[in-house]
């Protein structure tokens, strides 16, 4: 595993961007980051573990929502500096807004429009915590 990790081009901060894609539908679900430990954990568990830059720690996807991402395939691009993770999205919801994908906002005319439905109220996903 160390050789496979060493062959990647990490940022100065020791991170690599990750595109998460639904393995069945091909829908792009979200974009996040991993550090070496997150990627090693992802491979070991068979479930996506990202690195949260805002929280400064590992972020096992679905830890509070239950919306775990089962890894079906892992790829890297020709420059070895971007990962593509094909996943089975448990619960069918990747976005913290309760939508299937984080890319629910489309450019139309001259502006951005939210075009995809909220499938589950975030309050029902994460509970009333504030």
């Amino acid at each position: 595993m160390n050789d496979a990790l060493d062959s990647l081009r990490w940022t100065e901060d020791g991170l690599i961007p990750v595109i998460a894609q639904d393995a069945e539908s091909g829908e792009v679900l979200m974009f996040a980051w991993m550090n070496r430990e997150a990627l090693a954990e992802t491979v070991a568990r068979g479930e996506a573990v990202y690195y949260s830059r805002s929280r400064g720690r590992l972020w096992p996807k679905g830890e509070s929502s239950g919306h775990v991402q089962k890894v079906r395939e892992l790829r890297v691009d020709c420059d070895r500096d971007v990962l593509l993770l094909k996943v089975e999205q448990i619960g069918g919801i990747a976005c913290h807004t309760g939508r299937r994908s984080c890319f629910y906002t489309r450019f139309e005319g001259d502006a951005w429009h939210d075009v995809d439905p909220v499938l589950k109220d975030p309050k029902d996903i994460y509970g009333e915590t504030s």
Copy 2:
């Protein structure tokens, strides 16, 4: 257009990451960057114009290869800091290696393996320039 650009979260360098996806097959083709000018040009032309960080200038995709990307849809994620560009890939080749997608390398066992075929020799795409 300025309002739409202002509403995005650009990096300190004035860039935003872009995932290019085949609009028909859903295949993720490549990952690149845009600055404000590149995104405005992309919208105006209806063809992908990236910002090349290595060359420090606008990079109209396909300028030397002819492998232009016609824009079918433009989306942004919930954090407004990643773009998803759904495109028609002219020539069926997005990667400078002559492959359909830049993500042709799969993690299997404990190592990376190139699994997708070269569709056209890069020498025949770009000519013998060195």
